[in-house]
């Protein structure tokens, strides 16, 4: 059991938190034919765009209403209107995600009302879905924005089945901690049960890193509007990550499709739950392929546990990532020397750590020092300075990962993905046997055991 500590510091040093609008735009990247736009000054877009480009190594379609001094004072409706029309004219998208920022939320813009008025007087927007999302930077983080965007898409586009026959289908609502590679793996698992799946959003169809045949100014793929309108015909919605709860519930409220919220899809026990659910929905036994994969994971745990036992890990990231990695580390016998996250999510109190700090990379560094060091850091690339200052290996996970190839292709879900993570983490620990901090007189074990 961990104590969740939020110091609410005046000064955040080396921030861990990524803004909510970026998370919202990331969700729209998994929509087909989409071009999202921030309602803010153009820097909001530029920063988010550059960060996603560096992480995915892909072109990122993202526009801005380019708020200026005058529109900041008088209101930004004209900017929204011009922006929507310009995008419609130039990129001809199927859907535009309109995302507020701290600037426009501080002003108190009525974006939804503005969009209604704009649509009423501009016929050329008739064929384009415009989904507005309120996701101010000053509230929540990456996960929050992602969750809000998915919820807004559902609220504004999903429809009840209305007598249409149910399909042999599940809806999948992946959290933002899942990579395109993870989503692809989950789709394969679901298909193995003979089920169709609508994934919202589907980054595995847009940001999986592929070479399209022609130039496209919008997203390269993703969930289509038609898919979303059919979500009401599914038998079950599976949401992964606590931050997907509201989206899943909203979908249930609109369509009546029941939902199952999985806290994670990594680790033997969690994947077992996923398999049982899929088997129940599909009415078929768990496929031989997955039974074999389970056995392979069990074997990997047997082979790997030697290298995790008694080792101490530090984890920093969004709550869903810290939870997923923390549980895996604990499953394998490692201890958590430091855990830092972006929001005080109560469920993180269940982690086997002494404390979970809501903070930044300075907190991570302080925690590691207090624990007398650690064997491995799991965090995004922004932990590289902490890692190199103390000579601790860094396993890059989360967002952003800009100094390694393949951030989008890391698979950590399902039996196979879990085995993959155990192998990769285990290899790092194997390369540095024993405690990295034996020479340190401070007894860290009591502090880290939790």
């Amino acid at each position: 059991m961990a104590l969740i500590v939020d110091h609410n510091k005046a000064l955040s040093t080396s921030p861990l938190k990524i803004s909510a609008p970026l998370g919202a735009s990331l969700a729209f990247m998994g929509m087909k034919g989409c071009l999202p736009m921030f309602h803010g000054s153009q820097g909001c877009t530029a920063f988010a765009l550059v960060m996603m480009v560096r992480h995915f190594r892909e072109a990122i379609p993202l526009q801005t209403t380019a708020m200026n001094e005058i529109s900041t004072i008088l209101g930004g409706m004209d900017q929204v209107e011009q922006g929507l029309l310009n995008i419609a004219r130039r990129a001809k998208p199927e859907i535009i995600g309109l995302i507020s920022t701290a600037l426009t939320e501080t002003r108190g813009e009525d974006m939804a009302g503005d969009v209604r008025a704009i649509r009423a007087r501009n016929k050329e927007l008739d064929d384009i879905a415009v989904v507005d999302v309120s996701a101010p930077d000053f509230s929540g983080s990456l996960e929050t924005g992602w969750g809000k965007a998915v919820t807004a898409i559902i609220r504004q586009l999903a429809v009840p089945a209305q007598g249409r026959a149910p399909l042999n289908r599940v809806n999948l609502l992946p959290g933002c901690h899942l990579t395109p590679g993870d989503v692809e793996a989950l789709k394969d698992i679901i298909a193995g049960f003979g089920l169709e799946a609508v994934v919202l959003p589907d980054l595995s169809d847009s940001l999986d890193g592929h070479v399209p045949d022609a130039y496209t100014p919008t997203t390269l793929g993703g969930t289509s509007l038609a898919d979303i309108r059919e979500m009401g015909r599914a038998k079950l919605t599976i949401a992964i990550g606590e931050h997907m709860r509201i989206a899943a519930k909203t979908l249930k409220d609109i369509t009546g499709v029941p939902f199952l919220l999985l806290d994670r899809a990594t680790g033997l026990e969690a994947v077992d739950r996923l398999m049982v659910s899929l088997s129940t929905v599909a009415g078929v036994p768990v496929p031989a392929r997955q039974r074999r994969a389970r056995s392979q994971l069990v074997d990997a745990m047997l082979d790997g546990h030697f290298y995790f036992g008694g080792r101490s890990l530090a984890i920093a990231g969004e709550p869903a990532l810290v939870w997923t990695m923390g549980k895996l580390a604990a499953d394998m016998g490692a201890t958590i020397a430091a855990a830092v996250t972006t929001q005080a999510l109560p469920a993180l109190g269940e982690l086997p750590a002494e404390r979970v700090i809501v903070g930044d990379f300075e907190d991570l560094e302080d925690q590691i020092l207090e624990a007398g060091g650690c064997d491995l850091i799991i965090a995004n690339s922004n932990a590289r300075q902490v890692a190199s200052r103390h000579g601790i290996p860094l396993f890059r996970a989360g967002f952003p990962v800009f100094d390694r190839l393949g951030a989008a292709h890391l698979v950590g879900v399902g039996y196979g993905g879990t085995r993959n993570l155990i192998t990769q983490l285990g290899n790092i620990l194997m390369e540095r046997p024993g405690h990295a901090h034996l020479e340190h007189p401070h007894d860290h074990s009591a502090a880290a055991a939790g």
């Binding site: 877009t45 960060m51 995008i87 701290a102 070479v211 922004n382």
Partner: protein
């Protein structure tokens, strides 16, 4: 007050482009007008940060919600030979309650905490949209903090909504002039001290020309701001000559330094062989005019002759490998004629060059280099047209910034980053050789034949 400052910067008389503009155009500044839904590039805050972040030993504290710093810190590839404090992100991370209650007290506490923990020679505080909108008086907080904490706390008032990245560069330069320069008197100022304005030490480029200056006995008093120390910038007013590299960003600063401290400036570039020579020549000339040993001129000429010969000799082996290759040069266009020249020297054909930010003189020089073909000079090329150029084989490779890289790569076309995220220094003689080497490695990579071949099942 900010509005007044912005107008002053837009009216910059020292800028050659500005002189040819109408009054109305001048007021718009030199960033492109910001079109909602069709805009590209950063905001004024971004520009201010780009211009100042390379000062390595100060705390760069951003007063705003998480997006401004959380989404961007440690993302710029400017190197340090000293402190790495500048690589940490500092922000007040304004939340809901701060927006309601105001963030001034939080800012003060943040400044105090940063000074206590890191003992920097100064703290730079960046205002953002939200801080400005809720009326936080950053100037006043900085004044109070400077007085009470005994460390210079410098307000950088460039919230995003005031304009483009370029305007932010200028506001940053203005903040240095107003609050930093002239506040330190070094005991060792000499007749060959210079400053370089608008060089950010991206990928360590400073060290591609700092040694050349050293060989001539020229001392770099302050680099504004690549690899800079706060105290050097504070003493920049004691230099004899300023060299302005990115004139659009810091020309106002150069002009004000000339008016206030009589420091003459030269606008030039260290990109390209002839530009580097021209820069060294002009620095030497201006230093001699300001009282340096006249022999400096001759020494500069000797060094130029030696280095040029060496550089051309090193480029020689690439000629056979690059002859006839068609390259698209898509940069801001600042001094791109100088790069065009080098590429042509090794036998490449420049099929297009953008001149978005180029001065009229630069444009003419580029045009002359391109054989007077107006069609090869474009303000901007749309990604769609660019993609078509590659697909139809009208260009074999592209040199550009990261933003357009995927247009080339997805068309299975070689691409090299020559913008601020680049990982190789391309400055001065060594840098031009490095650029040609990179081009050779890229365009002659074995992957192109492989990735362009159709899958077996797609073959005719």
């Amino acid at each position: 007050m900010l509005k007044h400052k912005v107008q002053e910067l837009m009216n910059e008389p020292g800028c050659s482009i500005n002189q040819s503009k109408s009054d109305k155009d001048r007021k718009k500044g030199c960033g492109k007008s910001l079109v909602p839904g069709a805009a590209a590039g950063g905001c004024a805050f971004d520009g201010a940060k780009i211009a100042l972040q390379p000062i390595t030993d100060v705390v760069h504290l951003v007063h705003g919600p998480i997006a401004c710093e959380g989404n961007s810190w440690d993302g710029r590839n400017s190197w340090s030979t000293g402190s790495d404090l500048y690589r940490r992100g500092f922000t007040t991370d304004l939340g809901n309650l701060d927006i309601v209650n105001g963030g001034e007290k939080k800012l003060y506490r943040a400044i105090k905490r940063a000074i206590a923990r890191h003992q920097p020679p100064a703290v730079f505080v960046y205002q953002t949209c939200v801080g400005a909108l809720i009326g936080d008086d950053v100037d006043a907080v900085c004044r109070a903090a400077t007085q009470r904490l005994g460390v210079p706390v410098i307000p950088i008032n460039a919230p995003g909504f005031v304009g483009s990245k370029n305007l932010g560069n200028r506001l940053a330069g203005d903040a240095l002039f107003e609050h930093v320069m002239g506040t330190e008197e070094p005991g060792d100022s000499g007749p060959t001290d210079i400053n370089i304005l608008g060089e950010y030490n991206v990928a360590g480029e400073l060290d591609q020309f700092r040694p050349l200056l050293a060989r001539l006995g020229i001392r770099l008093r302050a680099s504004i701001t690549g690899d800079a120390r706060y105290r050097d910038v504070a003493a920049a007013h004691t230099a004899r000559v300023n060299m302005v590299l990115c004139s659009q960003a810091l020309i106002t600063l150069a002009r004000k330094m000339k008016e206030t401290w009589g420091i003459p400036y030269y606008e030039g570039s260290f990109y390209g062989i002839s530009d580097t020579s021209e820069a060294l020549r002009n620095i030497a000339r201006l230093l001699v005019e300001r009282g340096a040993d006249p022999a400096l001129t001759g020494r500069a000429e000797a060094l130029i002759a030696e280095e040029e010969a060496k550089a051309w000799a090193r480029l020689e082996p690439y000629k056979a490998r690059l002859a006839g290759k068609k390259v698209l040069l898509y940069t801001g266009g600042v001094k791109s004629w100088s790069v065009i020249q080098a590429l042509q020297e090794v036998g490449m054909e420049v099929v297009g060059s953008s001149v978005r930010k180029a001065t009229e003189t630069d444009r003419e020089k580029a045009l002359e280099r391109l054989g007077g073909d107006e069609g090869k000079l474009a303000d901007a090329i749309t990604p769609r047209d660019m993609y078509a150029m590659f697909k139809e084989g009208r260009a074999d490779m592209m040199l550009s910034g990261g933003r357009s890289q995927f247009v080339a790569l997805k068309a299975r076309t070689p691409w090299i980053d020559i913008n601020q995220e680049r990982h190789h220094g391309f400055a001065a003689y060594d840098g031009m050789v490095a650029l040609v080497r990179e081009i050779d490695q890229s365009i002659n990579s074995p992957i192109w034949a492989r990735v362009r071949a159709p899958a077996p099942w797609d073959e005719e």
